[in-house]
């Protein structure tokens, strides 16, 4: 039996994590969780996930951008694909676009919340496929 794919879910919304952890586990993934940006690095080191689902705007001083930058700047972890999620689109006048961020890799993806469990699994699988080829 092959090793399960491990996903790290990062979000400050406990319900988002609880729900998607259950859903992902039911779909055959192994799931680790982090509730704040500052927990991510330790979790990544410890859990060695195959993919990270990262919420963009977790807290005022602790955004997903900072986490993504730190990961992409690290030679060991820069290749872990990131699925960045945000609940805040450009319609609010705040720009959260991956194009603005130089660290963004083409192996990564970006999705708007809310995101149904099926959609999340679909995006995770697509991203994993893309990275297998790359």
């Amino acid at each position: 039996m092959s090793k399960k794919t491990k996903i790290l879910l990062v979000d400050n919304d406990v319900d988002f994590i609880d729900l998607n952890k259950t859903v992902l586990e039911n779909s055959g993934f192994e799931v680790a969780v982090a509730y704040a940006g500052r927990e991510v690095m330790d979790k990544v080191k410890f859990e060695k996930p195959d993919l990270i689902v990262l919420d963009l705007m977790m807290e005022k001083h602790d955004t997903g951008f900072g986490v993504a930058r730190a990961l992409k700047a690290d030679p060991v972890y820069k290749d872990i694909p990131i699925l960045m999620l945000t609940a805040v689109g450009s319609e609010t006048g705040m720009d959260f676009s991956q194009e603005l961020d130089g660290y963004w890799m083409k192996t990564d993806d970006y999705a708007n919340k809310p995101l149904s469990p099926e959609e999340l699994i679909k995006r995770i699988n697509e991203l994993l496929e893309r990275n297998k080829k790359a």
Binding site: D15, L19, T22, K60, A87, V88
Partner: protein, 496 residues
């Protein structure tokens, strides 16, 4: 019709006096006579004359004497001397004393009329000259006044002004413009614009206003950014001044307005909207996620799991309602600053009632409540509803973030000019690095203990707004693992 010319004839010889009068009246003039210099001088003092015809040799006061005095009264009067000693010396002497001309005796009516007519013409010219001079002086004064008025207005304007001529030279500016553009020295008038102003953005807008495409616009308005260290945003309006007839450009006027603080407000507003959006979306997407998982069976087939999910969905729905209430409260506080309904209040009852009402929420944790509030307190001037809101938020936080078998302590006592109200708990406490943020909108301390506690992140922002609108202050002390104490100080308005 023109005013008649007024002539005074002064001669001691009645024949000459009357003869002159007859001749001059026939010419259409108004004529008075006097028999000597003294009488004549009195008449000049009381009445206005254009011409004076005066005999040199008279008893009481002679012509030379009289002329001296008359000139002091009216320097523009035309004085014509009648002299029996028609010598060059007397004539010259008379003219030295201010006479305009002289008529030697004996004279014919035509002699007199000719001299008088010349005198009248001169008088007219003298008066006109004087009037023009006065007008000119008045105009100059008005111009000077206008100029200093304009100067004062332009210099005291908060907006910066730059006037540029068609040669692209700076010809006028005000201190606000110097300040905004941070020009270290006062520029000289007539310097080429690019020599004085180094900001490319501003130069570009000015150039654009001068371009042929701009002919259809009356003015151009653009925002320009000043680079650090200024880091300001200016709104620049450039109007081209055109000659109405020829359509030729005469120059341009640029006004500068510092909109840095407006931009900042705008940014704050956008951030607030973004945060509200985020906060509203989070519970809705959680509820939606749970419902979808429930309906599709995506979470497996454990009924206990689904029951838990539905319970969480309900909690999030309740939290969303709370959030909407808090948002309404929040915007009400923002807009209400001017129309707050303040009355003299004894808030002891409000505090005690609030604690009683909220006690139920602490049952599951078996909390103990200690209330140390006297039955009557000095009066404060406050909005009753807002006071209820204030203590509800503080006490419910003390309950929400408490531990099992913990305590909630509420006390109130006067302290000099203030009323100190303390709301303390023995809860989880707040880390020191989080303390500065707890009054920020939507800020919630994230820690494992509060992961499943719902909250809007607005409770303490509302508390702070209420306290500040009542001229009070709020302080917080906290030890992680031991508890948190909020102290609200409100000014006492009246002692009992």
């Amino acid at each position: 019709m023109e005013e008649p010319i007024c002539i005074l004839v002064v001669d001691d010889e009645k024949g000459i006096r009357e003869g002159c009068r007859r001749i001059l009246v026939a010419e259409g003039h108004k004529v008075d006579v006097a028999e000597n210099g003294k009488v004549g001088l009195e008449m000049v003092k009381n009445q206005h004359y254009d011409l004076l015809v005066v005999d040199l040799m008279m008893p009481v006061m002679g012509g030379i004497d009289m002329m001296g005095h008359v000139k002091e009264i009216d320097p523009d009067i035309i004085m014509i001397v009648i002299t029996g000693f028609a010598t060059i010396e007397t004539a010259v002497d008379a003219i030295k004393h201010g006479a305009y001309d002289y008529v030697p005796k004996p004279f014919t009516p035509d002699n007199l009329i000719a001299v008088i007519n010349r005198g009248i013409e001169t008088r007219r010219l003298r008066l006109q000259t004087r009037r023009l001079m006065e007008e000119r002086d008045q105009k100059l004064l008005e111009i000077a006044n206008e100029k200093s008025k304009m100067h004062a207005i332009i210099n005291s304007m908060a907006d910066g002004i730059l006037v540029i001529n068609r040669e692209n030279q700076l010809v006028l500016w005000n201190p606000a413009a110097i300040r905004m553009l941070n020009l270290h020295e006062q520029p000289e008038s007539g310097r080429d614009l690019p020599e004085v102003i180094k900001n490319d953005g501003l130069l570009r807008v000015i150039k654009k206003a001068c371009s042929p495409e701009a002919i259809n616009y009356t003015s151009i308005t653009e925002e320009i950014e000043l680079p650090p260290p200024e880091s300001k945003t200016l709104m620049v309006n450039v109007s081209v001044i055109r000659d109405d007839e020829s359509g030729q450009d005469l120059g341009l006027v640029a006004t500068l307005r510092d909109i840095t603080s407006l931009k900042e407000l705008d940014k704050l507003k956008s951030q607030f909207v973004a945060m509200v959006t985020h906060e509203l979306r989070a519970p809705v997407s959680a509820i939606e996620g749970y419902l979808t998982a429930f309906l599709t069976g995506a979470a497996g087939n454990d009924p206990q799991m689904y029951k838990q999910m539905m319970e969480r969905a309900r909690q999030r729905a309740r939290a969303l309602l709370e959030l909407i209430n808090d948002l309404l409260q929040f915007s009400k506080l923002e807009s209400k600053s001017a129309v707050r309904k303040k009355e003299l209040l004894d808030i002891s009852g409000i505090i005690i009632n609030t604690v009683e009402l909220l006690k139920g929420q602490g049952e599951s944790k078996d909390l103990k409540f200690e209330i140390d509030v006297p039955e009557s307190l000095p009066l404060i001037e406050a909005d009753k509803t807002e006071m209820e809101q204030l203590f509800t938020n503080l006490v419910s936080n003390a309950i929400k973030y408490n531990v099992k078998n913990g305590k909630v302590m509420v006390s109130a006592k006067p302290n000099k000019h203030f009323l100190d109200i303390k709301v303390a708990d023995t809860g989880i406490g707040i880390e020191a690095d989080c303390l500065p943020c707890i009054f920020d909108e939507f800020y919630r301390v994230s820690c494992p203990e509060t992961r499943y506690t719902t909250g809007t992140g607005l409770g303490l922002s509302i508390v702070k707004k209420i306290v500040e609108s009542h001229f009070g202050r709020i302080d917080v002390e906290s030890t992680p693992g031991k508890g948190t104490t909020f102290t609200v100080r409100l000014p006492i308005k009246q002692r009992k």
